[in-house]
Symmetry: C2
Subunit: 211 residues, 2 copies
C-alpha cells in the first residue's frame, strides 16, 4: 500500500501529458488533475510549470548517461566496439521512446536555451564516442575511409526513425511499437540489421570474413 507522494505523482502526470500534448499544449490544471493534486502544488514543489519540465528532463538526462565510455576501454576490435555502442544506444532509445520524442521536439524548437544546451551536450557526448571509434578503426585500416559524420547520422537516424515513425506506416509490417512484446521484437530486428549494415559498409571488401 505504498502511496506515491504528490511530488512524484506530479512529475509522472506531467511527463505523460508533455509527451502526448507537448509543453505548451499542456496546462497546469491538466497536470494537477491527472496527478490528483492541487494546482498550487506545482509551484510549491517546482516553482513553475517550466520547473516541472526541467526536473523531468534533467532526471532523464542523468539516467541517459550511457556507459559508452567504458566500451572504449575494452580490449576488442573497433568493429566490436561499434556494435556494442549500437546495441546499447538502440535499446536505450527504444526503451524510452516518449522521452526521446520530447527531446527531439525540444531540440527542434529550442525555446528553453538552458535545456537545449543540456540536451545538445548529452547528445554530442554519445556522438563523440562513436566518432572516435570509427576514426580509430579507419586509422587502423580496419574500416574503409568513410564520411564519419554521415555514418553517425545513419546510426542515430535509423534508430530515431524506427523509434518515432508512425507504427504500421509500412504496409507489410504488422508490428505495433506500442505493444511491449512487439517493441522488443522490433528492437532486436533493428540491432541485427544495424550491426550487419555497419559491418558491410565499414569493412573493406577484400576482408576474409565478418558477421
Amino acid at each position: 500500500m505504498e502511496k506515491t507522494d504528490k511530488r512524484t505523482s506530479i512529475l509522472l502526470a506531467a511527463e505523460k501529458l508533455f509527451a502526448s500534448q507537448g509543453y505548451e499544449g499542456t496546462s497546469t490544471r491538466q497536470i494537477a488533475n491527472e496527478a490528483g493534486a492541487n494546482m498550487s502544488m506545482i509551484n510549491y514543489y517546482f516553482g513553475s510549470k517550466e520547473g516541472v519540465f526541467m526536473e523531468i528532463m534533467s532526471n532523464r538526462i542523468k539516467g541517459f548517461r550511457i556507459a559508452l565510455n567504458s566500451i572504449n576501454g575494452e580490449n576488442i576490435t573497433q568493429l566490436d566496439k561499434l556494435k556494442m555502442v549500437v546495441d546499447q544506444y538502440a535499446r536505450r532509445i527504444l526503451d524510452n521512446i516518449t522521452f526521446h520524442k520530447m527531446m527531439h521536439r525540444e531540440l527542434s524548437l529550442s525555446q528553453r536555451p538552458e535545456m537545449y544546451d543540456k540536451l545538445k551536450d548529452a547528445m554530442s557526448q554519445n556522438l563523440m564516442v562513436i566518432e572516435r571509434i570509427v576514426n580509430e578503426g579507419i586509422d587502423q585500416g580496419m574500416f574503409r575511409p568513410v564520411d564519419v559524420r554521415m555514418v553517425i547520422a545513419t546510426i542515430m537516424g535509423t534508430i530515431t526513425n524506427v523509434a518515432t515513425a508512425p507504427s504500421k506506416i509500412t504496409a507489410g509490417s504488422k508490428l505495433d511499437i506500442k505493444i511491449p512484446a512487439d517493441r522488443e521484437i522490433l528492437t532486436e530486428r533493428l540491432i541485427t540489421y544495424l550491426k550487419d549494415l555497419i559491418t558491410t559498409y565499414l569493412t573493406p571488401k577484400n576482408d576474409t570474413e565478418h558477421l
Copy 2:
C-alpha cells in the same frame, strides 16, 4: 514594388512562427503582428488559427508530391532508380528543413487527426515507392535479401538526422546548416554518401563493379 497581399503575408508569418515556436507556442496576435495585419484577418481568411496551420501544411504537402512514381517507369536498374529516389528525397527535405521539422513535430504529437492522416499518407506514399524498388531489386537478384523496412528507415532516418540535428554538433564539422552555401555542400555530401552506402550494402559482394 509588388506588394504581397495580406492573405499570403499571414501565411508566411504564421509558417515562420510555427516553425520556430511550434503551433501552441504561437499566438494569433504574434502572427497578425508579424504579418502587419489585423488579428481578425486571420479568421476572415482562414476561419481559425488551425485553419491557417492546415492551409500551410496542405500547400506544402501538395508541393511535396515528389515525382517519385515517374522514376519507376524509367528503363534503368533498380539500383539507379533507388539512387534517383535518394537524390530527389534528400534535396527536397534539405530545401525545406523548417517544414520538415514542423511535420515531424505534428507526427510526434498527432493532436490534429486530420492533419496527422494527411502527413502519414504523404509519407507512406514515398515509402512504398522505395519499398517496391528494393523488393524488385531483391527479386531480380540484383540486391541482397535485406530487411527492406530497415533499409528505408536508414535512408529516411539519415536524411532526417542531417536535416534536423543541431548544426556543429560534430566537433570537427564547421558546416552550418543555416548558411545556404553550407547547406548546399552538406546536401551533396549527404547524397554522395547515401548512394555509396546503399550500393555497398545492397549489392552482393561478388559483383564486379559498382560506383
